[in-house]
């Protein structure tokens, strides 16, 4: 694995302005998830949520390489993927709040967000479902715009039939598909090692799909690997696979006892918080700390305004749903 040194050196970030944009996105995702959690505890967000906190480098790093013609399929842990693609955070928040102004009018909720206009085919609640959706998108893109389809999924999804079937399907058809396995070490409360045979990456290698295991806490490591993978897929060579090692800093979903984490594990991973790592790197590259502080404050203000607007938005009054398109 190409694990990046945590000692910041200069000249690591190829384009500082671009990384400042990524930094802002990561802050937005983290702040958004904190906000969703606080609103959930107040009873303003319903059902359940699966937060992306800790994994921000993966979604933002990959999204920074995507073009207008590309497509993405995310999971029920999809707020970060949506925001990384540019989904309007107010509309996303309003969806969580079950309001009429939500990105899906309050029909979808946290687990099922979709926005084709933002390239997000959807967030899929069936583990492994995102892989199938992206496989189909790749089939279409291969025949139309030459775009690439990205599937995000977790370590747990590696044991679904969907994974094996779609990977083989995509490889024999040489589909432009990027498979991003976000290995956050657990599927719900179960450590992935206890339910997963062999190495994750090897499952792609056995089908001769180029595969890398990378440091998913370093957004520049993600970007570098994603650049290689996207180039492979876009070049007509078939799918590419990335295993991004990461960690969720919060519970699996709303009701998580957290008892499965060995003592100190969370704290160790938090020392490699992707946002903290990127900030240190930006400072090492000569970015003024005050400028980064300002960014943080701007994002915090933005989120506070979103919260107020969201809570003031109306609920939908009636489900004007038609079963079929005419």
């Amino acid at each position: 694995m190409s694990r990046v040194s945590d000692e910041p050196a200069t000249g690591v970030l190829d384009d500082v302005e671009l990384y400042l944009g990524i930094y802002r996105r990561m802050l937005l995702i983290r702040g958004f998830e904190d906000l969703v959690q606080s609103l959930f505890l107040k009873g303003e967000v319903y059902g359940t949520t699966h937060l992306y906190s800790g994994q921000e480098a993966v979604a933002t790093g990959v999204a920074s390489l995507l073009e207008e013609r590309d497509r993405v399929a995310a999971t029920y842990r999809g707020h970060g993927h949506a925001l990384a693609l540019g989904v309007d955070p107010q509309k996303l928040l309003d969806e969580m709040l079950a309001r009429e102004t939500g990105i899906n009018g309050g029909r979808a909720g946290s687990m099922n967000v979709n926005s084709l206009a933002d390239r997000l085919i959807g967030s899929f609640g069936i583990v492994g479902g995102s892989i199938a959706a992206a496989t189909g998108a790749a089939l279409a893109l291969q025949r139309t715009t030459g775009g690439v389809a990205v599937a995000y999924f977790g370590d747990g999804a590696m044991n679904q039939g969907y994974f094996f079937e779609c990977l083989n399907f995509a490889q024999v058809l040489k589909l432009p598909l990027l498979l991003v396995c976000e290995n956050n070490q657990y599927g719900e409360y179960t450590p992935f090692r206890s339910v997963t045979a062999g190495e994750i990456r090897a499952r792609a290698e056995v089908m001769e799909v180029p595969a890398e295991t990378i440091d998913g806490m370093s957004v520049w490591a993600v970007r570098e690997a994603a650049a290689r993978a996207v180039a492979h897929a876009r070049g007509g060579n078939g799918p590419a696979f990335i295993e991004a090692l990461t960690y969720r800093f919060v519970g699996h979903s709303r009701s998580d006892p957290g008892a499965y984490r060995p003592e100190g594990e969370l704290e160790r991973w938090k020392q490699r918080d992707p946002i903290v790592l990127l900030r240190a790197q930006l400072e090492a590259e000569g970015v003024d700390g005050a400028r980064l502080d300002e960014l943080e404050q701007a994002v915090a203000r933005e989120l506070e305004e979103m919260r107020e607007r969201g809570l003031a938005a109306p609920f939908p009054s009636e489900l004007a749903a038609r079963e079929f398109k005419d």
Binding site: G102, R107, M111, G125, I126, A157, N159, Y189, P316, L319
Partner: protein
């Protein structure tokens, strides 16, 4: 009689059946070490060990297949499929292996497996964690489908399901887990409905969470001197037609309340069967179910979507006028 919540009743049934028969095994995602995401299997792994109670990969296809294969090789597997919405992935082995085997072996070998799964809407879980998949399976000969409404039935019917020699789908409505009720040791039999409130003006036949909604509606109707008889079907396949028909002979009206899409649902099956059997006794018969769309997330939308007590009472008032 001890009072238990629905969740603990499930746990007790599993515990007692694991203790009673060493061929019983219990497996599924997060059910062992973590005790289940709905906390229905807490402590069973500690008590029976990994031989009998174990966590699995997220591989519903493998799980359903393993249940079938082990059931015809000497075990009595109990499989948890966390949400009923995931049954699509488990469907092939269940439909094409488990439910065919008894017939194809010329009734030499049965398939004693139980699949427990959490179902139902009202929890704000959205379109893909709220479904009621009964109707996906209603047309599968050889399969029993059970759905309790009370802690007592949860325990008794789960024990009966595990002891049954046939494949059984056992549905646990997620909004019942917290319900309290008296639980005794009386065994129950699959395929028997229960009259849970007597009345003379209209029969309401239903199951699971909707039994409580129907009882609430019946209470409201009683204030208007409309006496509704409420039947808890308890097993949806095979249906206890006799109990429903006996009630309809008395009330001459039948409303079937189904949490599930009105088209292709089991309520239609109940109506068809009762009509064939007792057309002459019927003055009115209809379904109260959900619209033919997926389940919305937003609370006001989901509440309006479901056939709750107010809608049941209002429809009965309107039809009886």
């Amino acid at each position: 009689m001890p009072t238990l919540d629905f969740r603990s009743a499930i746990r007790e049934a599993l515990d007692e059946e694991l203790a009673a028969d060493e061929r019983v095994i219990l497996f599924g995602e997060d059910i062992a070490v973590a005790g289940g995401v709905f906390a229905t299997t807490t402590g069973l792994y500690e008590k029976y060990g990994a031989e009998r109670v174990f966590d699995t990969p997220i591989s519903e296809l493998a799980l359903a297949g393993a249940a079938f294969g082990s059931a015809v090789t000497g075990l009595r597997p109990v499989l948890e499929v966390m949400f009923g919405d995931f049954l699509g992935l488990a469907m092939d082995s269940l439909v094409n292996q488990s439910t065919k085997y008894w017939f194809l072996t010329e009734e030499q070998v049965s398939v004693p497996l139980t699949i427990r799964s959490v179902v139902g809407a009202g929890g704000r879980f959205g379109a893909i964690h709220s479904q009621m998949p009964v109707s996906w399976f209603m047309g599968v000969p050889g399969l029993k489908i059970v759905g309790p409404s009370t802690p007592a039935d949860a325990k008794a019917l789960l024990k009966a399901s595990i002891r049954d020699d046939n494949p059984v789908l056992f549905f646990e409505h997620k909004r019942l887990y917290g319900n309290q009720g008296e639980v005794d040791a009386t065994p129950a039999r699959l395929g028997e409905a229960a009259v849970v409130r007597e009345g003379t003006d209209v029969t309401i036949a239903t199951a699971m969470k909707s039994v409580h909604d129907a009882l609430e509606a019946a209470e409201a109707l009683a204030a208007d001197r409309v006496l509704a008889e409420v039947i808890d079907l308890r097993t949806l396949r095979p249906l206890d037609l006799e109990t429903v028909v006996a009630s309809v002979r008395k009330t001459n009206r039948l409303a079937v309340v189904e949490e599930g899409p009105v088209t292709g649902g089991w309520a239609g099956e109940v109506l068809a069967s009762v009509t064939e059997d007792a057309l002459g006794y019927l003055d009115d018969a209809w379904r109260i179910a959900t619209p033919n769309t997926p389940i919305p997330y937003s609370p006001p939308l989901e509440d309006a979507f479901l056939p709750g007590p107010a809608r049941i009472a209002a429809e009965i008032r309107r039809r009886l006028r």
